[in-house]
Amino acid sequence: MTDTPAPRHIPDRLDKPLSSAIFSWEALLVVIAVAIFAVNSFASPYFLDPWSLSDLTFNFTEKGLIALAMALLIISGEIDLSVAAIVALASTMMGMAVQAGAGTPVLVLIGIAVGLACGAFNGLLVTRLGLPSIVVTIGTMSLFRGIAFIILGDQAYKGYPESFAFFGQGYVWWVFSFELALFLVAALIYWFVLHRTSFGRRVFAIGNNPVACQFSGVRVDRIKFILFCLTGLMSGIASVLITSRLGSTRPSIAQGYELEAITMVVLGGVSILGGAGSILGVVLAAFIMGLVTFGLGLLNVPGIVMSIFIGLLLIIVIALPIVWRRLREGRFA
């Protein structure tokens, strides 16, 4: 196993955890994914069934869609903790529209528009007032979910039209669900935008050195605003999917999604300090998290214990290259 150089268009991670130690981050993720896949297929006879593998994808597609946009945001040096609250608010608005008798196209439009509006609100607060995004989005997280709680109280909205169920439950071809197809298409689009366009290069540049960017004429604030809008938009789309899959809206919907999406992004090799990362890594991390939760689910491991594995996975994968490098250099303190 020799060093594979990082792809040309991706700047090295700030601390070069693995590319300099063994091989690329993405390769490590592939190895982990294959290992978990193998363990799963040995551990449960039901795992390798195509329909069961198809079910697996529902474990990560919704959070994965959010993680794609979140990756760009974190690469640019910002963060959005309000994504799950946006999902809840968008879902609540769709629920209200259903009560008013809205049809499927209107519902989808509302979900996406509410997501976009929330993202724009975050973006405005961060860029216009120059506030740290981590605090702004802690605030809007309570605000958005709070509005959902005010509207819904402790009840739930049901009665979504039958055609609406397609987004979260439908299949486009054989075992390929609409959710998975949408996730893969979105991943391709985000890959293209981040790694093949000047917009993507600017996102990296802002994360690496915002001051230099500002001075070289990059409209830092405008790009950050667009990234917040994108994250809101993806949360709106995720809201349509999850609402359609569950067929109901509760104010506690998507609780904890923000941390899972961020975990996917970080696990995917995006530096939390900004400036480095790749979409391929995020997609692989999304698959890994889906595999872990699904595999443990087949083994009847309760959800809360799965979170131990996700947490350990996050810390071990981040720590591994650092420990490895220190061991090689013989200076592990």
Binding site: P132, I138, R145, I206, V211
Partner: protein
């Protein structure tokens, strides 16, 4: 006078007085000393937690695992109490502090020795500690009737007319005040937040200091674990779920800069009080508690906007930002 008005604590205090005044117009008994004592007591745990979070944030780090630590430690002491009711409460509190310390030290070690950003470390331990609570308890709850009367009544006992819980909060506030203003470690914590590089040259061991602040926030989380469980007399995996953000919110409202280096004990305490008053007032003035999240969310955003006006200084924990030329 002008200097006096520069202090955020004065503004916060004024805000709290106005808030109490407004609530009193709807519910006259609210400003009653007995009721205010009650509000203070209800907010004690949040104040203690906010202080623990404050020292972490001051060093440009963040501890997202505090609520999970609280949940785990609370479960451990509750189970110990249920199994061995003879263990005296002070010993249980020591155990809670020790368990919390270990959990905090794990965070601190990963941040110190492996240089992993604290937001990543504590994001991981947030889920690990809560999962560990399930593992130790097997998913079972510890109910009020399994806890010994001492366990439940200790913090409710009145001393000089004030419950022990409030006294614990007062002692913790006093200790933090002394440490932050009168000791070397307190100065080091501020120094690291203001300028980590300069701190290294000034002879401060940045990594070790960060390790210490995580140990402090861990111990605080553990202490709050006992207090929380004995106050709400139920230990389950769901305890304080999502509460880590309330703690950070209290700090932010209290004027502690998330970019590190700025903040005070008084600020953290008043920030927590502000949130505590809101949550106490809503039911008595007949506003549905469902409004609580939206109101505290707006308060946080307002506080950040005011913070930014006050500071106009850019530093950060998770990012570096373009200083607009």
């Amino acid at each position: 006078m002008k200097n006096f008005l520069k202090y955020r604590e004065i503004w916060l205090l004024a805000g709290i007085v106005v808030l109490i005044g407004l609530i009193s117009t709807r519910f006259p008994g609210f400003a009653d000393p007995a009721n205010l004592r009650q509000v203070f007591n209800d907010t004690s745990i949040l104040m203690i937690l906010a202080l623990g979070q404050m020292v972490v944030i001051l060093t440009r780090s963040i501890d997202l695992s505090m609520a999970s630590n609280l949940c785990f430690t609370g479960m451990v002491v509750a189970m110990l109490n249920a199994a061995h009711p003879a263990i005296p409460i002070p010993v249980l509190i020591m155990i809670a502090l020790a368990v919390g310390l270990v959990l905090g030290a794990i965070n601190g070690f990963l941040v110190w020795r492996l240089n992993i950003p604290s937001i990543v470390v504590t994001l991981g331990t947030l889920t690990i500690y809560r999962g560990a609570t399930f593992v130790v308890s097997g998913g079972a709850w510890v109910n009020a009737d399994q806890m010994s009367p001492d366990f439940i009544n200790f913090q409710r006992a009145a001393f000089l007319g004030i419950p022990v819980l409030s006294w614990i909060a007062i002692i913790v506030i006093g200790l933090f005040f002394l440490v932050m203003t009168r000791t070397q470690i307190g100065r080091s914590i501020y120094a690291i937040g203001v300028n980590p590089t300069a701190s290294v040259y000034a002879g401060i061991d940045v990594g070790r200091t960060k390790f210490i602040v995580f140990c402090i926030s861990g111990m605080i989380g553990g202490l709050a674990g006992y207090l929380w469980i004995s106050r709400y007399v139920i230990a389950s995996v769901e305890v304080a779920n999502g509460y880590e953000l309330n703690i950070i919110a209290a700090c932010v409202i209290g004027g502690i800069s998330i970019a590190g280096g700025i903040g005070s004990v008084g600020g953290a305490v008043l920030g927590a009080l502000f949130l505590g008053i809101i949550s106490n007032a809503l039911p008595v003035i007949n506003i549905s508690p469902f409004w609580q999240m939206a109101i505290s969310g707006s308060a946080i955003i307002l506080a950040v906007v005011l913070n930014a006006r006050g500071e106009r200084r850019q530093g950060r924990i998770i990012l570096r930002k373009a200083e607009a030329a």
